[in-house]
């Protein structure tokens, strides 16, 4: 798909961006399609809460029980990093929703939250870098971890795209942001 897609049939504030996963996973047709399917679980977290660790533990236990080992491990990383971003960078005025979704061919974790436009721009910019070269971006963020770069290193999404090879799909509608990390089942 195009780098940053705006559908003429949707409001101008609605957009979508997909970043294919890397890390040696061969991308097949349909892998970066929008994940529409059955919600296996849905957890609502209060923004600004300390829900990260126990919500992640719950999602990890669930995926380990319901999905193949390697897929469960990859989604565990995706769940942690997406939820961590939402808790750290999302607006505190609305809830954060984390879902595990499966379709016939794909499975993924989706985190939805509100954010201010500056944060959404930052996210989009970062995802474009990942789309261009996930491995290079991952290495850059690792390097920035050492030097303590400003703004602070954004290793989380780079891990999701490169380290565990999940495809990232972001949809923005007004201030509502949905980030999905998905892979073939």
């Amino acid at each position: 798909m195009s780098a940053y897609e705006r559908s003429p049939s949707t409001p101008s504030s609605s957009s979508r961006l997909a970043v294919a996963g890397s890390a040696g996973n061969t991308l097949r047709p349909g892998d970066n399609a929008v994940l529409n399917g059955r919600s296996l679980l849905r957890v609502i977290c209060t923004a600004g809460s300390g829900a990260l660790e126990y919500t992640h533990a719950f999602v990890t236990a669930y995926t380990a029980d319901h999905l193949r080992g390697a897929i469960a491990q990859r989604l565990s990383v995706g769940a942690y990093e997406l939820l961590s971003n939402a808790l750290n960078f999302g607006s505190v005025s609305s809830d954060i929703v984390i879902e595990l979704i499966e379709s016939e061919t794909l499975v993924g974790v989706r985190v939805t939250n509100d954010a201010i436009s500056a944060r959404i721009s930052m996210l989009t910019e970062h995802l474009l870098k990942l789309k261009n070269n996930a491995e290079q971006t991952y290495l850059e963020e690792l390097r920035r971890s050492v030097t303590g770069g400003i703004p602070r290193p954004m290793l989380g999404l780079a891990r999701v795209a490169h380290e565990v090879g999940l495809t990232l799909d972001v949809q923005v509608q007004e201030r509502r942001v949905s980030v999905t990390a998905q892979c073939r089942r």
Binding site: Q73, L139, L142, V146, L155, R159, E163
Partner: protein, 126 residues
């Protein structure tokens, strides 16, 4: 007695840490704390300092049992490798023992290796 084997091991809820030899440390479990540095950075630094004092040729850090770590924990491993790389006096090889079965480890340590290849070694176990 070596300095390395007398380093105080921190108690962290989700991780089991053992000093398994005069140059070996083993970590297993998960690292999900928002700021794992508060528990682990000092410990890794103490191991690094002890390795220098003991003039060790190699330190083995067995992380094969770490099934999940967050980004902040990865930064701790980067820091450790960087301390060794920047060491002007005695320098040792930091060998990470990783598992082929733990997805995050395959790419993370390969990337770390590319940043600090002079001082790092990776060993894979099943």
């Amino acid at each position: 007695m070596s300095e390395f084997s007398t380093v105080r091991v921190p108690k962290v809820d989700t991780i089991a840490i053992q000093l398994t030899g005069p140059n070996q440390v083993k970590l297993s479990g998960t690292i999900t704390q928002k700021d794992p540095a508060s528990d682990l950075a000092g410990f890794f630094k103490a191991l690094h300092t002890a390795a220098i004092v003991d003039k060790l040729g190699e330190v083995r850090a067995d992380v094969s049992g770490l099934t999940f770590v967050n980004s902040s924990a990865i930064r701790l491993f980067v820091d450790w490798a960087t301390w060794v790389k920047n060491e002007r006096g005695h320098r040792y090889t930091l060998r990470f023992v990783t598992s082929r079965n733990v997805t995050w480890q395959k790419t993370a340590f390969l990337a770390l290796m590319s940043l600090t290849k002079d001082v790092l070694a990776i060993e894979h176990v099943s």
